[in-house]
Amino acid sequence: MSADRSMAPVILLDGVRKSYGDVIAVDALSLRVQRGELFGVIGPDGAGKTTLFRIVTSLVIPDEGRAEVLGLDPVRDYRALRRLVGYMPGRFALYQDLSVAENLAFYAGVFGTTVSAGMRIIEPIWRQLAPFADRRAGALSGGMKQKLALCCALVHAPGLLVLDEPTTGVDAVSRTEFWELLARLRDDGLSLLVSTPYMDEAGRCDRIALMQAGRVLALDTPEAMAASYPQPLLAVRGTDRLRLLAALRALPHAASVWPFGETLHYTDQRIGMPREQIVVELTQSLHANGMRDVVVTPIRAGVEDVFLRLANAA
């Protein structure tokens, strides 16, 4: 460990807890985000992602635990912190009746800076928005609204950018483009905290935390998390998927069976059992059930397999 200040985490949460009445939104949550990291918080609606992000951005005061963001206490130092953080909330929160350029100038003004001073940072995004500078923000397409919101959150050159579900409800193409923008910002040295309900976006992040019901189920790089899957995992293909699903779930060693795209993912309970042997077993058993066209293949787990396993056990 170095005492160098640049090595200190940009976000440090230790045992943070927040309840609303009898609903525990965030429970004993601990995590660190390193400087220059693109950190993803992945979980469904109601997992506690938004509460977590509001604690980090000083908008919600935790009931318990310690939080430090950019070296500041989000409760005590909230004024200083808000100048240093860029926050893009889940809902489009810009002024629909102001033009694209007016919105940007307004946000620059709020943070005591100017659009030209912030241009170095927002330039790659602004280039795509500039043709619409005079259009009312409310009349932009969904993808363009996202880019404007990103510009407004970045114009004051924050040390940390926090984005709450920026890609929810956005089509696959715009999602890909948006993650490319985030990766570019990270490559330029920015630290980012991003949440998403889409498991397939995990691979875009340097490290991820899987969240469910206020808790972190797992925290690691996407690769290490996928590699941690303990049981043999196999993909099964066949024409009559409903029948196949029932037949696989009835097998004595089935730990779980879930639809995954065009295949079913079968997890076997027997840790360490050679997967080739399970392929033979499954194939024979399904053939005996009259399903002659099935194909069974051993596969590596993905982040979604990990989530399903942990969420099912929780």
Partner: protein, 251 residues
């Protein structure tokens, strides 16, 4: 799921078109859906999916072209169409301040079902999604995944021939997403035709057939396998990107 090619048509769209002023939202789309099929209706935001769906459920008149749903013409008899279909929108469509049971009674009455029929069907639908014990709970107290499944069940209450689902799984957790698709399979296996939109392309793989709309037109149609083969890609994700962002890699 295997649907016999001789199954009757549940949806038939022929050159269906809708213009708003100078803008053509849906441009002469033609496709068929057979009874009992799970049909994926995909496209980028703004491609025209919602406009097309609104025409098919009798909420918006086409500018030209024609379509039948459950054998009924959407232009000549939109009311007849609405009696034969169920619709679940991406926005949650139940009453938060009513209980589960009250919501079912309300929607059953709207569809003109008598109390005894409503009670009998409610029992079966709630049992299937494991919500029997929650029937007296306020809907807003239920977790999102349950509310979505309830919304799905309510859309089936009047036993429609065709079910339209507009992004039914947005935001729900991966387990509920799969439970939801099992409900869709079971519904289709029982003979109800399902047309579904989604942003999750792995879910599109669960469909018997699908179309991808681009700029108001159907850019590709077929089984998931046929779509991938015709575009020379190995995933629907890649197919979608290729069609909707032809300049990929340039930007």
């Amino acid at each position: 799921m295997s649907v016999r090619p001789e199954a009757p048509l549940a949806i038939a769209a022929d050159e269906l078109t809708r213009r708003f002023g100078d803008f053509t939202a849906v441009n002469a789309i033609s496709f068929d859906v057979r009874q009992g099929e799970v049909f994926g209706f995909l496209g980028a935001n703004g491609a025209g999916k919602t406009t097309a769906m609104r025409m098919l459920i009798g909420l918006l008149a086409p500018t030209s072209g024609r379509a039948t749903v459950a054998g009924v013409d959407v232009v000549r008899d939109p009311d007849g169409v609405r009696q034969r279909i169920g619709y679940m929108s991406q926005r949650f469509s139940l009453y938060d301040d009513l209980t589960v049971q009250e919501n079912i009674a309300l929607f059953g009455a709207i569809y003109g079902l008598d109390d005894r029929t409503i009670a009998a069907r409610a029992e079966g639908l709630l049992a299937r999604i494991g919500l029997l014990d929650a029937r007296r709970d306020l809907v807003r107290k239920l977790p999102l995944g349950w509310r979505q499944q309830l919304s799905f069940s309510v859309a089936l209450l009047h036993q429609p021939q065709v079910l339209f689902l507009d992004e039914p799984t947005g935001g729900v957790d991966p387990i509920t997403r799969r439970v939801f698709w099992e409900l869709i399979y079971e519904t289709a296996a029982a003979g109800t035709t399902v047309l579904v939109t989604t942003h999750y392309l792995d879910e599109a793989e669960y469909c018997d057939r699908l179309t991808i709309m681009v700029d108001g037109r159907i850019a590709v149609a077929g089984t998931p396998g046929e779509v991938k083969t015709s575009l020379g890609v190995d995933s629907l994700d890649a197919a979608f990107l290729q069609l909707t962002r032809p300049a990929a890699g340039v930007a």
